[in-house]
C-alpha cells in the first residue's frame, strides 16, 4: 500500500518519486501519518491557493504548526485581516524599496566569499550561506549585530519536526520561545527609541484605529526573522547543490552572471526549499473522486506541483534555459512569499560574489544529511570541494 509520510527521513532526502505516485495515482490523497489530505498536481495547488475562502490559513500554514502562532502572522490569517497586516509590512519588501540594500548586500557577500579564498574544501552552509543570510537580515531589519550565530541556530531549529513523534520536539519549541524572546527585545527597543525602519513602524502600527494585537506584532516579527534566515539560507543551499551537481549550468552562470536570475527561477521550480504548506477546509470539497470534509487539513505540495509534467515538460531535468514562469517555488495567491524580491536580489548578488572566489566546485560528500522538517527541505551541511 502506498504511504506518504512527510515526517519520514526518506521523504526529507528525496520526496520526488513519492510525489510522482501521488500526482499520477492519488491526486487527492489522505495521509494518516501527516493527518492531512495531500494535493500534488500543479493545477489543484494553484486553484487551492487562489481560493482562501475554502482553503483557510487561519489554523496555521506550517505542516507542523508552532503553538499559539496561528492567527497572528501573515501566513496564518485570511483576508481581510491578512491584507491589512500585509499592507503594513509589504512596502519594505517591494523591489523598488530594496535598491538601497544592494550595496550593503554586496559588501556582506564579498566579505563572506573572501573568507573562502584558498580553501580546498568547506561547508557552504556553515561557512558561507548562513553567515551571509543572517547579516543580510540584520541589515534589512536594522538589528544589532552580536547575536547572529545564536539567532541563526535557533531559526534553523524552530522549523524542524521530530520524525518519530511527528510533532515539534522540546528543543524545537525551546528555539521558537527563544526567538519570540529575542523578537520581544527588539520590539521593546524600537518602541523606546523609534527609528525609520520596519520594526519601529510595525510595532506601533494601527489597523482601522486599533493598535495591532501584541501577539501579532511579536509573532509576525518572529516569523520575519525565521523566514529571512532559514528560508533564504535553505534556498541558497539548494541552489548551490544544483550548481555543484550540474557542471554545465554552473559553468554557464560563472561565465555569464546575467544568467543567474534564470538559474534561480529554475532552482525555485526544481527543488525549492519550501516544499509543503498547509490549509484548513472551510467547506466540504469533492475532488478526484474523494470527499474532503470541512475542518480537514490539506497539504499543498508546492515541490510536487513544480514537477508536474502536466505543466512543465520534462520536469525532472534541471534546465536553466527553461524560464519556468508560474512556478510554485514561492507559493502563490494572496499568501505568496512576502520576500520574493529581497530573496532574488540577495541570491543573485551572493552567487555573483561567491563565484568570483570559488568558480568551480562539486559536492564533497554524498549522501547528504537532510534537515528533519515536514514543511521545508534542505541539507544540514553541504560540503563542497573546490576544483
Amino acid at each position: 500500500m502506498f504511504v506518504f509520510d512527510p515526517y519520514s527521513p526518506a521523504i526529507d532526502a528525496d520526496p520526488f518519486p513519492a510525489y510522482q505516485t501521488l500526482r499520477d495515482e492519488f491526486p487527492c490523497f489522505w495521509s494518516p501519518q501527516a493527518g492531512t489530505w495531500v494535493l500534488s498536481r500543479y493545477a489543484d495547488i494553484v486553484s487551492a491557493g487562489q481560493d482562501w475562502q475554502t482553503y483557510s490559513s487561519a489554523r496555521g500554514n506550517l505542516m507542523t504548526e508552532l503553538p499559539n502562532r496561528a492567527g497572528a502572522t501573515l501566513g496564518t490569517t485570511d483576508p481581510p485581516r491578512h491584507d491589512r497586516l500585509r499592507g503594513l509590512v509589504q512596502h519594505a519588501f517591494m523591489k523598488r524599496n530594496l535598491e538601497s540594500l544592494a550595496d550593503p548586500i554586496r559588501d556582506i557577500a564579498r566579505t563572506a566569499a573572501m573568507a573562502l579564498a584558498g580553501r580546498g574544501e568547506f561547508d557552504f552552509i556553515g561557512e558561507f550561506s548562513s553567515k551571509f543570510t543572517v547579516r543580510v537580515l540584520f541589515a534589512a531589519l536594522g538589528l544589532p549585530m552580536g547575536d547572529e550565530q545564536a539567532v541563526r541556530d535557533q531559526a534553523v531549529l524552530m522549523v524542524q519536526s521530530d520524525p518519530l513523534t511527528r510533532a515539534k520536539a522540546p528543543q524545537h519549541i525551546a528555539a521558537y520561545q527563544w526567538m519570540q524572546d529575542y523578537a520581544a527585545g527588539v520590539i521593546a527597543e524600537r518602541r523606546a527609541r523609534p527609528q525609520n525602519d520596519l520594526i519601529s513602524h510595525f510595532s506601533m502600527a494601527e489597523i482601522d484605529g486599533d493598535r495591532l494585537d501584541e501577539r501579532e506584532v511579536l509573532l509576525t516579527t518572529t516569523t520575519l526573522i525565521m523566514a529571512g534566515i532559514e528560508s533564504l539560507g535553505g534556498f541558497m543551499s539548494m541552489f548551490a547543490l544544483n550548481l555543484a551537481d550540474h557542471r554545465e549550468a554552473r559553468e554557464r552562470v560563472v561565465a555569464d552572471p546575467s544568467l543567474l536570475p534564470d538559474a534561480v527561477e529554475e532552482s525555485l521550480r526544481f527543488n525549492t526549499s519550501a516544499q509543503r504548506f498547509r490549509r484548513c477546509l472551510q467547506r466540504d470539497v469533492h475532488l478526484h473522486g474523494q470527499t474532503m470534509r470541512a475542518g480537514d487539513f490539506v497539504c499543498l505540495a508546492y515541490g510536487s506541483g513544480n514537477r508536474d509534467d502536466r505543466q512543465f515538460p520534462d520536469p525532472d531535468t534541471y534546465d536553466i534555459t527553461r524560464k519556468p514562469r508560474g512556478h510554485l517555488g514561492f507559493g502563490g495567491g494572496v499568501h505568496a512569499c512576502l520576500g520574493t524580491a529581497i530573496a532574488r536580489l540577495s541570491v543573485k548578488i551572493a552567487f555573483d560574489e561567491f563565484h568570483r572566489v570559488v568558480p568551480a566546485y562539486r559536492r564533497a560528500d554524498a549522501p547528504l544529511q537532510w534537515m528533519p522538517s515536514s514543511t521545508f527541505r534542505s541539507p544540514l551541511r553541504l560540503g563542497l570541494s573546490v576544483q
Partner: protein, 107 residues
Amino acid sequence: MALITYIEPSGQSVSVEVADGWSLMQGATAGGVDGILGECGGSCACATCHCYVDPTRMAELPPPGEAELAMLEAVAAERRPNSRLACQLKASAALAGLVLRLPDVQE
C-alpha cells in the same frame, strides 16, 4: 473556464482557457503568454502583471481594491483608464472572451 485572449507586446494574440477562480495573471504565466511577469506570485505586491482591459468590458469587472489602486501607481508602462493588474482579476464564465492587451514593459 473562460477563454481569455492576451495580446502580447509584439501584437501576437494568444488565447488561453483559464480555470474558474484562477487569476488572469496565473492563466497567462501558466499558459506561456509573453509580456506578463507576476513576480510577486499574485499577492498584489509588484505591479508586473499590468494589462489594458478591453475598454468596452471595463464595467463588467469588479472595481480595483485599495491595494490594487496603490500598486497601479507603480506600473512601469503608461497607466491608462483601462489599466488593471491581472492578478486581481479572477476567471469565471462571465469573463469569457475578454481581451487583455499587455504593455511593452513590466519593470
